[in-house]
Symmetry: C2
Subunit: 379 residues, 2 copies
């Protein structure tokens, strides 16, 4: 039974970067793809129609942990899943909740069975098991689910990292067994990805990837990165793991990255990424442009009549001056969040589209060089 | 020199309600009109393009007090006035700042010269005079300016109200003298309205209107309402004053009102209104519908699949369920403010358009009866 067809259109011979198409039950996703994060059933600050008509986002990410706590999977299922609840007609990937339990919740206790944690909202106690997290994501109706994993802090000792990786593998097996059982009575509209863990240890990453390959999943995620390690190490681990994963399946690196890092991951053969950075930084006044970062609160932008990014054609850049954006930011206006989020996501998705085009046209190495020479901070 | 042409298209013979067209330098405004409030150079929560394409708002209001303090009239003038700064191509009315000095600033001191006040942002001391406020509004480039007035609290004694009204009249004369002097060297693109004050005293309102008529303004505002008095009294004062104002000029009642009150004012011959209620209440989860108010946080809406208002065709009502809106509100999501503001303003502007149509078609009394029989709170 095939749920997620992945069609590879081109591979860069020098780097291994790939351009492809993911065929989901909610449309085609062109890869490499960056998925805007819609934590609580909304990409913070942006109406769904703008995600479609301004950004042409083909897939967004939802957070299982957040949606489980509020409004709850039963309610969302009643509305036809997250697609119906938030009226998003395109593809949705949901994470497993493992990362949020690790980073947000209080008093979590990991056992062989699963993870007991207290809600960061009201302190209520809950249990996530590999099986329950599959069920929650089936209620959400995600096109792409993630298997429950355990994240470890950075740095972690080898023993701790190995125990955690072993647990993640056992949980992934249970998740797949449960998922396949559940899918016997459902339309093939939901696929499940396991997550390769192993901290920054080559032997653990190799072992984890090897064990998970036996699950014959339709795609694989690389987790446990962006937890505080140096960027070179994240890229090294990514290179290692992508080399172990099947060539014909999509590879998803979770939680990355800065705009200039996106091509570095793609150069390692990564097809999918997500990160809160474009949306969260937008709300905090950190804007990404082709000329580098703009911290809009700076006095230098007070009477700057230029668009945020002269090379960007988003609504924000087509319409408003830096001075107006700075005014909205300093006045604490909601419109700032909307305009800034729209731009930062446009910037990310533009990079992805340019990258894809470069891979298809055989000019990805040149693209990579051009991105590497961009200034960090705008004039 | 005529700046603002007001063309009356129809008058309701039973009530005196009027339908007309205000010809401004930034387009035609069909009346009766409700003006969304854009305090700090943005209608809170809504992008300018949505105000145009979703709502077809023809005129918005800016607050002179807020814009004077931040980002300041010099900066805004450099950007071609508020129209250029916020990229709003349609008409703008700015208030005089008198109401905000009265309601927001600390340590204000009113003298014959003007009003000295401290900024609510940083405590800096400033002086507003009738002349300076005209200059500020010319820097803002407002299509319709307001003359500096003094607001009095409710209830106010007759002596206090009279002194304040006399001051408002003297300030209006100075404002007009200065405005006419300044306009000798400018294109006729900005008009100035004086504000009828006089608290809730018939003799003071009569006297004030009489004195201000001598200024031969192109329109007149009625101020000092919505300051805590009973609604019947506001309407009584409005009826009194509209009866004294010239029939061929627009009449603007400042700071009103609830949706069901709008037709009551129009029935008194009012052409223009503004209020923060649709936008502020939206952000606080109070939504106006044709079936009455919806307080979206209520548990009854938790799994309500219906649109907010089945009779509304705004993006919010076309697309989302009450359950989703409630989720966004309880989760504190920015998108709630945007969707709620869009709907509440759509509701207000729909009422205005329906009213205008009823006046043009001779069915305004029936419209008034229908509005009066609407429930206060939605099922």
């Amino acid at each position: 039974m095939q749920t997620l067809r992945f069609e590879i259109e081109a591979v860069c011979p020098q780097t291994g970067a790939r351009a492809g198409r993911l065929h989901t039950a909610h449309g085609i996703v062109e890869t490499p793809v960056f998925m805007p994060v819609g934590t609580q059933g909304t990409v913070k600050g942006l109406p769904q129609r703008d995600l479609i008509s301004d950004l042409d986002a083909r897939i967004i990410l939802g957070n299982t942990y957040h949606l489980f706590l509020r409004p709850g999977p039963q309610l969302i299922e009643k509305f036809g899943g997250l697609h119906g609840f938030m009226q998003w007609p395109r593809a949705i990937l949901t994470d497993s909740g493992g990362f949020q339990v690790w980073s947000l919740s209080q008093l979590r206790k990991v056992t062989a069975e699963g993870v007991v944690f207290r809600s960061h909202l009201n302190g209520d106690q809950h249990l996530f098991t590999p099986e329950s997290v599959v069920d929650v994501q089936l209620s959400l109706g995600s096109d792409i689910q993630m298997a429950l994993d355990e994240c470890v802090e950075y740095p972690a000792g080898h023993e701790r990292a190995k125990a955690s990786m072993d647990l993640t593998v056992r949980w992934a097996r249970r998740a797949f067994e449960h998922y396949r059982e559940r899918m016997k009575s459902r339309e093939p509209r939901h696929t499940l990805f396991p997550i390769v863990q192993g901290s920054m240890y080559e032997d653990l990453r190799r072992r984890c990837a090897g064990e998970l390959l036996a699950l014959e999943a339709e795609g694989y995620a690389i987790g446990g990165l962006s937890v505080g390690e140096p960027r070179t190490l994240s890229l090294e681990m990514t290179e290692l793991v992508t080399g172990l994963l099947p060539k014909d399946h999509p590879r998803y690196v979770m939680g990355v990255g800065q705009p200039e890092e996106l091509p570095e991951y793609v150069a390692q053969g990564v097809d999918m990424m997500d990160c809160v950075m474009p949306t969260r930084n937008a709300r905090n006044g950190c804007l990404f442009t082709t000329q580098g970062k703009v911290l809009i609160k700076q006095a230098r932008y007070r009477d700057d009549p230029r668009p945020l990014d002269e090379n960007c054609v988003c609504y924000t850049c087509r319409t408003f001056s830096r001075a107006y954006l700075r005014h909205l930011f300093t006045a604490g206006e909601i419109l700032f969040s909307t305009l800034a989020t729209l731009h930062n996501l446009a910037h990310y998705l533009d990079i992805m589209r340019q990258m894809r085009k470069a891979i298809l046209f055989g000019s990805f190495p040149e693209f990579l060089r051009a991105i590497r020479s961009r200034p960090a901070v705008a004039e």
